[in-house]
Subunit: 408 residues, 2 copies
């Protein structure tokens, strides 16, 4: 199977792209071969790497708007946890599909998922049916090691890699962390966990272990280039040095951090250390979107405001965190438009007001564009949205509404 | 002319609305009369008051993305001012039309404009042709009093009221401020100006006048309920007391304040004083959107993050600042859906993913929805967008692109 994309704008130039199977096989001024499918964008659409959402909990989209504007503990313990306790595999299947509708429509082609073991089967089915690339981190608790092990190892698909996800240092025991690390090493799996999201987490860690979270994990030999740490707010300089030395990736989750008043990610400090910065939306219960356009803009603005420096978190840096850096963290050859890279591409309608004028395409993507400018989405060499139409959308929205009744 | 709207969702109930001329004349469970136009939304769309953008500079949309991520002085003096100097009346006409395309498509039906006297004619023509309600504050400088006076007084239209806009205390002389106040009193005009946007402005004011900006204006007898102050960041408690006492309105401009690192509006303190809080996007050169959905979300998140309290700037409060409070500031009977109010309405497509589930419509509008959920827009009793189509859009975008070349 090959697809020839004609006359698409790439870095301000009109180009042709040849997609063979799941790869970008050729980029040139003009490619003339017979292909299974030819799409001519006539210079009216630009191509961008699909966004890579490096931290989310998809099925929580079923709880979008269920509890807002509450103190953190009330939100979590009285609202979210009891609602999640009602979610079974089928809810998680439909909740994940609902999330994927929003992700595809806002240009995400690859996401780093973390969710409950209870919904494993539903999550995998949803991702497979929707055709988006994922790393799926199954939440470990202190009693599900063996089940996770049996489940994960035979499941890898073309689209889905697995990660191991000890939720956080305040929920996972030392034994769980050690098991996760060993399992990751042995099976070459990524580790996805929350780290230093709140000041309270740091203070509890110091009380319990006499050291800060990064020191605690480092002393367990836990941190390496396979670790993707979400939120990653409350690090001191010594911790940043450890993280740099070990080569892990950090995920900036600006909307969620702001909505829950968690704190502000040290973007420029982390960048200046050379640590890989990715971007993520977190789940829809604490965002309440899964839209990487919005996340890029909010992420850039928060840094400028917090650091009192408008030159911080530049559009280019934020765009990298939403594309190339995510691919680096998740160890896939995607997030860039070059020959030999995975064909995970979004096509942007330049006839929208956001690109009129168009002095700087990346600036317009980050600061002006809204998700509706994404007309077509390709993942792994296949179109999964054309002209903003996702075939199953209506059924998914209807089902999600029906299922949400159980939480009221 | 009357329009009957059937089966639209209002406060979670299916209602019929009768629009007669430019007013909402009747709201009931069922209205059965013959009307000039009948629109049946079949329970699939919700109605909301159109948004009221209380501070913007429309024509600057031509400079969207022209200069980002720069230090404030470099941005303003080396980039924006020289580019603005090249803008003539015709540029301002097309720039304003471009802005209005984005405003209409994101549900704004009423805006508080501030822009150059040089583009008066173009601004008025653009607003009139696009059919959006406006208060247009013409920028005063120290030499254009008489011209402004002659221009403003005969111009009031059905859609456009005029305001007088001394730009800021650091650009307008005391004489200009006194003239503006007198002219406002005599002709019952609103006053629209920037106030205490940066800490530097406050420090300069103290150096020059020995008092803070609000004290300076108050000692001139300047402040009353006709004043709408944009940005309004750097007030101390004493200044807030004066502002409360005088009954003016303040405009929160979160995206611009963040992008330019200006500071953080004291939302809860201002609210607790009972001062009227409006919301505005500022111009597209410092946002770079004119989208009140985005502004609501960013505005809520910034407060929670900055105050370290997730209960601050609740969805309901932010929604009021984007609707009812704006109408109060601009002295128009709009911003609410009640009989006798102006028919400035937006119709929201509930079949979008943002409303699936729909536990709380206002929360979904503020935290989840993107502007593409606005299907139809009515202003002053007339549909100005249906099914997201604005008749002149293509021509406007094309012209804006052509004109933008002069700034490169």
């Amino acid at each position: 199977m090959n697809i020839l994309i004609k006359n698409v704008i790439l870095n301000n130039e009109k180009k042709d792209l040849l997609i063979e199977d799941n790869l970008i096989s050729k980029i040139d001024d003009e490619i003339n071969i017979s292909a299974d499918e030819v799409v001519d964008y006539k210079g009216e659409k630009a191509v961008s790497p699909g966004f890579i959402n490096c931290h989310t909990h998809s099925a929580m989209t079923l709880l979008r708007g269920y509890a807002d504007d509450l103190p953190l503990n009330e939100w979590l313990f009285n609202k979210i946890f009891p609602a999640e306790a009602k979610m079974d595999n089928e809810d998680i299947y439909w909740g994940t599909k609902l999330a994927l509708v929003e992700m595809i429509k806002s240009g995400t082609t690859f996401f780093n998922e973390m969710y409950l073991f209870r919904g494993c089967e539903g999550t995998i089915r949803a991702i497979t049916e929707m055709g988006v690339r994922a790393v799926y981190g199954i939440c470990l608790d202190d009693s599900n090691f063996e089940k996770v092990k049996e489940f994960v190892l035979p499941q890898k698909t073309d689209l889905i890699d697995f990660a191991i996800a000890p939720h956080a240092i305040y929920t996972a025991s030392e034994e769980t962390l050690r098991w996760a690390k060993e399992f990751s090493d042995k099976n070459n799996l990524l580790i996805h966990m929350h780290l230093s999201e709140t000041l309270n987490e740091v203070e509890e860690c110091i009380d319990k272990f006499g050291k800060r979270p990064v020191e605690y994990l480092n002393d367990l030999g836990f941190i390496n280039e396979k670790c993707v740490f979400a939120h990653s707010i409350w690090f001191n300089n010594k911790e940043l040095e450890i993280l740099e030395d070990k080569g892990c990736s950090l995920v900036y989750n600006p909307s969620s951090n702001m909505k829950l008043s968690s704190g502000v990610f040290r973007f420029e400090d982390v960048k200046n250390k050379g640590i890989n910065i990715c971007l993520g939306t977190d789940g829809a219960a604490s965002n309440n979107s899964l839209d990487m356009f919005e996340e890029m803009k909010i992420g850039a603005l928060l840094q400028k405001s917090n650091d009192i420096d408008p030159t911080h978190a530049k559009a280019e840096d934020i765009f990298l965190s939403a594309t190339e850096n995510g691919a680096k963290a998740l160890l896939k050859k995607t997030g860039k438009i070059e020959e030999g890279y995975l064909a995970d591409l979004i096509f942007i309608d330049l006839q929208k007001t956001y690109f009129s004028p168009n002095f700087n395409f990346i600036s317009n993507l980050v600061y002006a564009a809204k998700s509706e400018c994404v007309s077509d989405v390709m993942c792994n060499g296949k179109f999964i949205m054309k002209d903003r139409i996702i075939p199953q959308e209506k059924e998914i929205l209807k089902k999600a509404k029906e299922l949400s009744v159980k939480f009221t």
